[in-house]
Each structure stands twice: as C-alpha cells, then as structure tokens.
Symmetry: C2
Subunit: 257 residues, 2 copies
C-alpha cells in the first residue's frame, strides 16, 4: 500500500459519511461466463466486492457510480440498488484490524479509526460485458480482478452474502426486464442469447420454450441474414427491437423460465 | 416537547449510528381503507413516517422492529426493507432547523447538532390491521395518527417519495406473495378479500377474473358455511389454506391483476 495515499485518505476522511458506505457487485458476462469483480483490500488474504465511502456532497447513487467508474473506467452503468446490510458484526474480521494491517502494509492506522466502526452497506449490482472493463485498482488494494461467480475466493465480512443476494436480485430482474443490449454483439444468434440467460440463471433452459417466450415479448427481431460458421448449418441472426426493448425496460416483460 | 426527554436523548446520542437511520412506512388496512401511520415531529407543521436512529448494538432490521414496536405496540410485524434513500438534501427542510425548533418547543438544540447532518434512510414497510395498533407517540412528536394514503398531509423531507416507493413495493409484493392472513377475519367472504386487493391496488378488479386467479393459487378454501346478512343472499365463507399460504410466502404465487 502507498503510505502517502493512505495518509491523504485519512487526512480527508471528514469528507465522508460515517457508519454508512456503498458496495457494488459488478457482474461481468462474456461468452458463457458470469464473473464478479473483486478486490483484495490492504493486501490481506480475503476479498471484497468493490465499494467505497460516501462523500458528504453526493447522493448514494452518485457514490456508487463514482466508485464503479474508478474501478472499471465505465460511466452510465445501470447500478441497481437491491438491499442494505447492517449489523454490528458485519465489518468484523480477524484480518481487518489496525494491528494486522500494520503488519502487512507497514502503515499505522489508529486502532480506534472510524474505518473499523459499524458500517451499513448500501449495496448495488450491475451487469456489464467484461471485455469492456478496464480494471483500475486503488492504492489500498493488492489486487482487483474478475472471479467466476461459481468459484469465489475466501470473502471478507459478509461479502459472500452480499454477492448471493445480488445474484438473487439479478435473476429476479431478468424475469421481468429485458437484458442483453450491452452484452451481445449487435447481431446475434439464438444460441448466443440462450447462453446468456442460461449462464445468469445457472440452469439449462429448454430450447423451444426459451425461444417461444423470448419471441413473444417482441424484443428481438429475426434478420434475413445468417452467421457463416464452417462445418455447421448457418444460423439466422437476430437483433434487438430497440423500441420494444426500451418499452420493456420501463413497463416490464414476462420472461419467467 | 418534554425538555427532560430531549436532554436525555442528546446525552445518550453516542449510542446511535451517525449519518444513517431507519424509516418505517406502516400501512394499516381496515374495511376498504388503506392508511399510513404518520407523526408530526417537534410540533412542526409537517409530517413524517415513523422512524428512528440505529443503536450501535443492533442490526438495521432490529432497529426497524424496535421503533415499529414503540409506535404500534406490535411485535413480529413483517417489516420488508424496500429501498434506501440518501442525498445531501434529503433532511433539509425550512422547519427542521435549531432556530425553528427552539421557537416552537422552547428547547435549544445546538445549531450544528448531528441530527441536522446528511442522513441515509434505510426504509421498510409493513401492512397490518389498523384496529390492532395501539398508537404511542414519542416525547418528540406532537401527534402520531393514521392518514388515508390517498389524502396525505404536507410531508417533511422526502417522506412523500418514501411513501410512494413503499406503495410501489407493496403492490409488487402482493402480485407475487399471498396477503390477508392478519388482515381479514378467520372466515371471510369473497367480496371481503376482493375489497382488500382493490384497496391496496387502488383500482377496480374484475370479479370473475379476480376469483378465478385467487382460487387457482389454492391459498383459500371454500367452507360449507354462509355469512348471514339481512336482506341479502347469504354469501359463502372462505378461509385461508394455511399450508398453501405458508408455501406461497416462501416460493411465491402468481397474482398479477
């Protein structure tokens, strides 16, 4: 850890709200893989989702967008607030003490620092195409990288629960709202969008039933064009009907599989 | 306002989290009426939902249950966390200043008191039979009473928005989970449960369609027994099938009208 950065942080800490912070569960999709962006704070041996403190001049949504932008370089992410977590135990962890941090980093944080206080976490999730993300770790993290949601490393605090609840919220969301516009190429095949849904829901979906329900929403349109794949019968290409898609984002669609 | 109570409160304020609190939107149903429990803090001319600060020893859910119990006398309320609200403006209100409070109450609160700081509100809603509620106002409120959700008084801060979002969450909830067990008599008629749904959704529901969808869930059972109403054809009585009802609370039911 950069000692100057740490000193600056604590010098400016009166800019932050106490006892409440934001956490972002950033899911990344890319070709049949669902990952989550995690960081390793203070070179400890556990991981957290990416998050940060709330400045006194910003809303909780602005704080979530700012810290998401810092880690991913992306702006305009759809950050959905899904749940807040708060109990006196939630930021207790045997690695997260002034003593342990000093041993690992050489930086002395006061033992009674406000960072060890009871913090309520306002949690958001987002879903992005992970090849678009330029990961930038902060001075306080040893690592910041993608992990498969099915193979999480050892998590700090209650962050495994936060990811579990975010996944639940994401799965509920895709049963009622269209997804895929930022996740697939402009033109895609039915197997490609089928893979997207199967990956997020982590279960196989019957081909015919999936296609029937998806087409019934009107959010995708069949093109008079095929993908050329050597050695295969070329599949038809589809694209999103942007008008129906945007309408679905507002009023909802029924896509319960 | 009781000056001793106020002094006690500020003396013990280091027991509370800063910058984050809970707000409960307590809905009350009784015979075709949907109301919300509001309080008038510091004898000001505006109203808020009932809420309170979070003690350092309790979880956010425990804080919500404690303050709900203080106002209603009820325990075991289903308090659903639905959204958190936070931006630098949200607790600004021209009535909520040390000067104005001193004028109205005769009690001097420091101008820079932590109660005027940026507070994030973790909001919960609940729905109860309002004749069961024994309203108890705190020393800091001039009034605490039921208001019809369709005729709210002048609200403080962003509390009108909080109620609007709570109603949205409640309406979404009843499309996916059974309600009524604590709101209707043990034996009820179809018009009675129909009224419950119409009142919460604030729209007329087609009789046949409502009955068909409700019966399809299996959560209510027709009894071989009728309600005696003078001058009317006696309607059949129904009761909840508790097993199906509890199953529905866990796995959900589809009741989209």
């Amino acid at each position: 850890m950069d000692t100057n950065a740490a000193e600056d942080f604590f010098k400016n800490s009166s800019n932050f709200l106490l006892n409440v912070a934001v956490d972002n569960v950033i899911f990344g999709y890319h070709e049949k893989e669902l990952k989550v962006l995690l960081q390793q704070p203070f070179a400890l041996d556990k991981w957290t989702v990416t998050g940060g403190y709330i400045q006194k001049t910003e809303s909780i949504a602005e704080a979530a967008a700012r810290v998401a932008h810092m880690r991913t370089g992306l702006t305009g992410l759809f950050l959905e607030q899904f749940q807040s977590f708060g109990n006196p135990q939630r930021v207790k962890d045997n690695g997260f003490t002034a003593k342990h941090i000093a041993e690992v980093t050489g930086y002395d944080i006061p033992e009674n620092s406000w960072i060890f206080d009871y913090f309520v976490s306002i949690a958001f999730y987002t879903l992005t195409e992970f090849s678009k993300v330029k990961i930038t770790k902060s001075e306080f993290e040893a690592e910041c990288q993608w992990w498969p949601v099915s193979e999480l490393p050892l998590m700090m605090f209650d962050h495994e629960l936060i990811i579990k609840e975010a996944l639940k919220a994401l799965r509920l969301h895709i049963a009622h709202y269209p997804i895929g516009y930022e996740l697939l190429e402009e033109k895609f095949t039915l197997p490609e969008i089928h893979n997207l849904y199967e990956t997020i829901l982590a279960k196989p979906l019957d081909d015919r039933n999936f296609t029937k329900k998806l087409l019934a929403t009107g959010i995708i349109t069949k093109l008079n064009e095929k993908r050329q794949i050597s050695g295969h019968r070329p599949p038809y290409l589809y694209k999103f009907n942007k008008e129906k898609y945007d309408e679905g984002l507002k009023s909802g669609v029924e896509l319960v599989f």
